[in-house]
């Protein structure tokens, strides 16, 4: 068996070399396909990483620790008690996880009302630790006026440009925040605007504001309770593994209903859907591209089978079974696509390599404030290299080669050996 496979590979390689023009044409199509595949996949992965990074730094983190009902209610009643928060913090600091975790940010996030003499607007009040938040969030980077919150701030607020315009306030102005406190009473708090940001996302700029966590603790009576512990993980690909470990460590308090551990996919289903839809679009494009390439390969290999009709008959006369004759055709198709695919993948990675450091600048196509689904689209996309993508690409190309060879191989198995000996080329 091994000998026959070796014979098939040897014949395949020699035949590919013999039919140089045909081989070059087919290989060129596959090289172009492989190049596009390996250029577009890291770009798509880089784009998704940007979206995820942008979204997780807007508040959810890669992993969100919160009370089980909070995702649906967004109410202060569904919060993580101080005791459970401490246990979670200890689990995150354990040797098993410490290296995986970049940051853990506590916050109290509730819906409320922001009002000024000019009017009132609904607001998402996020009480944060100014130091931790400055490391974690991208909102402080989007400052357009004033400054971000500082550790000593007490009655300060950092608001979006949309909210500032709606309330007609400026840095130094006072405004009143109203929401339900921990006791279930309506509670108001006077704050002073210390800074204004702009993300370009209207739903954030018009609603999200930051106040110090200490202010909320006193104002809302939450003390050390939080609604959310946002966890930033070193690599987004490690999120499921970190979630598994955390869930195991926190099993007793999860079972007690004090908290739940969610990934960004669960906490931001709309972002998850956006990534999946974009992936689907990319796969569909690749599928169509490779279907066209595959049809070209089918045609080329079929022509080759017809041209070598007598040769395939001879192989059967010498002892090949019809299946082995078909196998030879598949081996030729797979060897050709594998070699061409490897060149294409190499070329694609070589092209992408130029952009791994500085990224690919799409600012000619969209400006800096383009956003969707609560995510800012960065005009510069840095491709992400993943070994798994190279393996997936190669396997995909091999599959295309094998599938494209199947029909010509079938035709080769149907050769009438006696007739083929009369065949003149």
């Amino acid at each position: 068996m091994t000998t026959r496979v070796a014979v098939m590979v040897r014949l395949a390689l020699r035949n590919l070399r013999r039919q140089a023009r045909r081989t070059t044409l087919t290989a060129t199509a596959m090289i172009i396909g492989g190049t596009l595949l390996m250029f577009s996949l890291p770009i798509a992965d880089g784009t998704h990483e940007d979206w995820i990074e942008s979204a997780v730094r807007m508040g959810t983190g890669h992993i969100v620790i919160q009370a089980p009902g909070y995702l649906a209610s967004r109410k202060i009643d569904d919060r993580v008690p101080a005791g459970a928060r401490r246990v979670a913090a200890e689990a995150l600091a354990s040797p098993q996880l410490a290296d995986e975790i970049l940051d853990v940010v506590p916050m109290v996030s509730v819906g409320g009302l922001a009002s000024s003499p000019a009017g009132a607007r609904p607001a998402q009040i996020m009480a944060v630790d100014p130091l931790a938040e400055a490391r974690f969030s991208i909102l402080d980077d989007r400052l357009v006026d004033g400054r971000y919150l500082e550790p000593d701030d007490r009655l300060a607020a950092y608001i979006g440009e949309g909210l500032r315009e709606a309330l007609d306030v400026r840095v130094g102005s006072r405004m009143v925040l109203t929401t339900q406190d921990a006791a279930g009473e309506i509670a108001g708090q006077l704050v002073r605007v210390v800074g204004v940001y702009r993300t370009g996302i209207p739903e954030i700029d018009q609603a999200v504001l930051h106040v110090p966590l200490a202010t909320a603790a006193a104002w809302l009576g939450t003390n050390d309770d939080v609604t959310t512990l946002a966890v930033l993980v070193r690599s987004s690909r490690r999120v499921p593994a970190v979630q598994r470990v955390l869930r195991r460590s926190l099993e007793p308090i999860i079972a007690a209903g004090d908290l739940d551990v969610l990934t960004w996919r669960e906490a931001s289903p709309e972002l998850d859907a956006a990534v999946k839809i974009d992936d689907f679009g990319n796969y569909l494009f690749q599928g169509i591209l490779f279907a066209i390439i595959g049809l070209g390969i089918v045609n080329t290999i079929l022509m080759s089978v017809m041209y070598r009709y007598r040769e395939f008959g001879l192989l059967q006369a010498l002892g090949f079974t019809p299946q082995q004759t078909g196998g030879l055709v598949v081996v030729e198709g797979v060897v050709l696509t594998a070699l061409a695919g490897l060149v294409g993948i190499g070329l694609g990675l070589f092209l992408t390599w130029f952009f791994f450091r500085n990224g690919l600048d799409f600012s000619f196509a969209w400006n800096e404030e383009w956003s969707f689904s609560g995510v800012v689209m960065e005009p510069v996309v840095v491709p992400v290299f993943r070994t798994a993508r190279v393996i997936q690409g190669l396997v995909f190309i091999l599959l295309v080669g094998a599938i494209a060879s199947l029909y010509p191989a079938y035709r080769a198995t149907r050769i009438d050996v006696a007739e083929s000996m009369k065949f003149e080329r």
Partner: protein, 238 residues
């Protein structure tokens, strides 16, 4: 010596019918023959007499419509495609009019091809091919591709390929048709020598009078049936 050892190929009431409009064509019509091991047999007849079809039937390249056909003591019609392929590999060698060497392999690689498929180890395989190349005057041509060989040289390589596995039967379909008279004589000398010294059974389908002259048995076919069967000399073996 058993009957199976003595008879290389035997046909009993073999028919081959091709479906065709307006009426079916009987390429072979009830042929019964027994060809001894070590025979040097020519099947002659005009075009369309059925000699190539009978040869193809003996080689398991096509299946009989009716009748029974034994090669090396095994009945072919009951065999699966896989078994037929194995049968051809181990017991039957072919020489074709158009040489039919694999163009991507060298002369040596073409000759050793059946042994490679049989899984014979490298040393024995090379030794066997070298010995036959020496015997047939192909030394020095081993590394040439078929395109760089003359017609006679290609046909000699094809004969070596046919006998290298020491098959029970070598079937040669018009092996001299594309060769000049001198080259044909040389090739026939070589085949006679291999028949005599190795005891390989040769069955030819031919128009060539030179082949008919040298054959020790001449079977004449007309319209797919045996018209005459002339035994001229004892077979080389048995």
């Amino acid at each position: 010596m058993t009957d199976n050892d003595r008879v290389a190929v035997r046909t009993e009431g073999v028919w081959k019918t091709f479906k065709q409009e307006p009426e079916d064509v009987h390429a072979v019509s009830g042929v019964s023959l027994a060809i001894d091991a070590g025979a040097f047999v020519a099947m002659a007849g005009p075009s369309g007499s059925g000699k190539t079809t009978l040869l193809n039937l003996m080689g398991g390249l096509t299946r009989a419509t009716k009748g029974e056909l034994w090669v090396a003591g095994r009945e072919l019609s009951a065999m699966s495609n896989r078994e037929l392929a194995r049968m051809r590999l181990e017991h039957i060698g072919f020489v074709f009019q158009a040489y039919n060497l694999l163009p991507v392999l060298t002369a040596f690689e073409n000759a050793e091809f059946p042994l490679l498929l049989q899984g014979m180890d490298d040393d024995e395989r090379r030794q066997r091919v070298h010995a036959l190349f020496k015997r047939t005057g192909l030394e020095g041509l081993a590394d040439r591709r078929p395109g760089k060989l003359s017609g006679g040289q290609q046909q000699r390589v094809a004969v070596v390929r046919a006998v290298v596995g020491e098959p029970a039967l070598v079937l040669a379909d018009e092996p001299t048709a594309n060769l000049d008279s001198h080259t044909s004589d040389t090739l026939l000398d070589m085949m006679e020598e291999l028949n005599r010294e190795l005891g390989t059974t040769f069955v030819f389908a031919t128009h060539d009078p030179r082949v008919m002259e040298r054959a020790r048995r001449l079977v004449r076919l007309v319209d797919g049936a045996v018209a005459s069967d002339e035994h001229r000399a004892p077979t080389a073996v048995g």
